[in-house]
């Protein structure tokens, strides 16, 4: 990942003026109060999640795999909407593509399925990079729909490839070398690794100069460009990373469900899910999509059987969250606790420690 603004003076990307805790006067700092607690909690949760296949029932393992896939999707969508300022309703292009690339590699070319998962994610990243040269000609709402057209194109083309099952879909066979229970556990661990990689990857990306350039572009594109930020390149990087994340989610989805049909693998409903997850959790925060994924996953488990009513309620909820609580659950928690558990921005810490609270990025 290159630093986009390396050649030009970039005040925000400059080294921290003074290490925290040295001397008087206002200073800029990143780490928040209780920052270490968030990491301990994160590590403990990941540790407990890693033990799920040993301790939980088959049904729970399967459900939690779905949760982890939702987390990957939410984190990915949030990277674009929350940090890059790009709302897309077409990321299902890379979710579907991830599934189909995995299928092609593993079933037709004999690649080890779990290796094929990684390759599929990377190929989706490359596809996203290529796509960006077309869709980045559009902005705002038109960008959102433009990516959707790309997803439709991928879907319609996939449906015409007979070796991939055409429009009626097909199944993944290359995982049948594993016992059903072993497959379930292995796919769960793969999903956990992907979720942790997605979270850690986005967190670390946002803490680099690229991340700073990304949020600067989001907040004021003209301003950022005038300071030498290469905003288009930065957004391209984010879109590529999003392609990788969606490819992994699509591959995992196929590995856990074994069936794939173009109409659902490339369904715009997947975008709806991503949007709900991020809106509920809190757009533009690291922990938001995780909270949102858990809430959405629970709602889905409990209420999906209500069909249309469930989706009407979700739609209305999305409208209300946008208008009334744009920060989502994470924003609400931050407002009351004034703690930013995973800081990616910088905050101005004045001499009084009382005002050195956390604020959103």
């Amino acid at each position: 990942m290159s630093a986009p603004a390396a050649a030009t003076p970039d005040p925000a990307g400059a080294p921290l003026p003074a290490p925290a805790g040295s001397g008087a006067g206002p200073r800029v700092r990143r780490s928040a109060r209780f920052g270490w607690i968030a990491f301990v909690v994160f590590a403990v949760v990941v540790g407990l999640m890693a033990l799920v296949p040993v301790t939980q029932s088959v049904g729970n393992i399967n459900n939690l795999t779905q949760l982890l896939i939702l987390i990957v999707m939410g984190v990915t969508w949030n990277l674009l909407a929350g940090y890059a300022g790009l709302v897309s309703i077409g990321l299902q292009a890379f979710i579907g593509l991830g599934g189909y690339v995995l299928l092609e590699l593993a079933d037709h070319n004999g690649v080890q399925p779990f290796l094929a998962l990684g390759l599929a994610a990377l190929i989706c990243g490359a596809a996203a990079l290529a796509t960006s040269f077309v869709v980045f000609r559009l902005r705002g709402g038109y960008f959102a729909i433009g990516t959707w057209v790309v997803a439709e194109v991928f879907s319609l083309i996939t449906a015409q490839v007979n070796s991939l099952g055409g429009g009626s879909g097909t199944s993944l066979n290359s995982l049948s070398y594993l016992e059903p229970l072993t497959r379930l556990k292995d796919v769960y661990w793969a999903a956990l690794i992907c979720a942790v990689l997605a979270l850690a990857g986005v967190y670390l990306l946002l803490r680099t100069r690229t991340g700073l350039a990304l949020t600067a572009t989001r907040d004021d594109e003209d301003g950022a460009r005038s300071l030498g930020v290469r905003s288009v390149l930065t957004r391209r990087i984010a879109f590529t990373v999003a392609g990788i994340g969606c490819g992994a989610a699509g591959g995992l989805y196929l590995m856990s469900n074994l069936d794939i049909v173009p109409s659902s693998a490339y369904s715009v409903n997947l975008s709806a899910y991503m949007i709900f997850i991020v809106l509920i959790g809190g757009v533009g925060t690291i922990e938001g999509p995780v909270i949102g994924a858990v809430v959405f996953w629970y709602i889905q488990l409990e209420f999906a059987s209500y069909g249309a009513y469930y989706l009407i309620a979700l739609g209305v909820l999305a409208v209300l969250m946008t208008l009334v609580l744009p920060g989502g659950v994470a924003g609400l928690i931050r407002r009351f606790t004034r703690v930013d558990p995973f800081p990616v921005g910088y905050t101005l810490a004045s001499e009084e420690p009382t005002s050195g609270g956390a604020q959103g990025p």
Partner: protein, 289 residues
């Protein structure tokens, strides 16, 4: 002759797309936002018309007398209840809110009606045509659709160019803050633009329902077609939108001759090609820059 026929049919199909695209173009032109529930609202209009046909025994054409003002009211409410607030939250909020609205509307229609395909009955007018040769005939109804599209789009263009209100609307688009200083009520302008846009959405929905079958989820397809027409024509140009709709219609019908399996795909590919080759559209904006 097969190709001539394909082009002629495409132009008339394009008229319907232009009618759909006009509201999208207008709202983006004035407010710089995209209403993702655009297609679903047109389907709501089609269902509304169907309900009137069923209840009162009217012709679908007569229902336009109620559907058009009804949709204008919906536009006013959409603007005042959702979009005004969303515009205040962030630039992305209108997208998220209207996407949520889109999901809710689709499923509300599913719940009220059913997933079955519906059509608005217009009797023999729907199948009547002007037969020019054995391979070329022009349907009365598609021709009427094209005519209505041309009239509606030109009327909006004239309104924006000549009328005082149209000028005020363009001023709001160019610089809302300064327009306000000049005594223009920008909030009113936004509401008016939304009402006008939704009125055209109502016309488009009823014409869609008379031309072909629709389901609660048809709206997504027409949102995409409308969007493609706008981009092909050049974002912000009302005249371009008309041309964009026609290009898309022709691309789909000619595409059906080339690859009968997927005319829609050909339409998408033409759209992407235009985006790569002429990202500002075939017709650079005239009125709504």
């Amino acid at each position: 002759m097969v190709w001539v026929n394909a082009v002629v049919q495409g132009l008339m199909l394009g008229g319907l797309y232009a009618l759909f695209a006009c509201g999208l173009s207008l709202m983006f032109g004035v407010m710089r936002t995209v209403n993702l529930a655009h297609g679903d609202l047109s389907v709501v209009a089609a269902y509304g018309s169907l309900a009137l046909v069923d209840a009162l025994g009217w012709s679908p054409f007569t229902t336009l007398l109620i559907v058009i003002p009804g949709m204008a009211i919906v536009g006013f409410l959409l603007q005042r209840v959702i979009l005004d607030r969303a515009l205040g939250v962030s630039a992305l909020a209108p997208l998220l809110a209207t996407f949520g609205l889109s999901i809710a509307l689709q499923n509300l229609l599913l719940q009220i009606d059913s997933p079955d395909a519906r059509i608005l009955p217009i009797g023999s007018f729907g199948i009547g045509s002007w037969r020019i040769s054995s391979q070329l005939s022009i349907g009365w109804f598609p021709l009427l659709t094209l005519g209505v599209a041309i009239v509606v789009l030109l009327a909006i263009e004239l309104f924006l160019q000549r009328a005082r209100l149209g000028t005020a609307m363009r001023a709001t688009r160019d610089d809302a803050a300064t327009a306000q200083l000049m005594g223009i009520d920008t909030r009113k302008m936004y509401a008016l633009a939304a009402m006008l846009a939704l009125a055209t959405v109502g016309i488009a929905g009823v014409f869609l329902g008379m031309r072909t079958t629709f389901t609660p989820t048809s709206g997504s397809d027409y949102l995409i077609f409308a969007f493609e027409a706008v981009v092909i024509g050049g974002i912000g140009s009302v005249r371009g939108t008309l041309a964009g709709g026609l290009v898309l219609g022709v691309a789909q019908t000619v595409g059906a001759q080339i690859n009968a399996a997927d005319p829609i795909l050909i339409g998408h590919l033409v759209f992407l090609t235009v985006l790569v080759v002429r990202p500002r559209g075939l017709f650079r904006s005239s009125v709504l820059a």
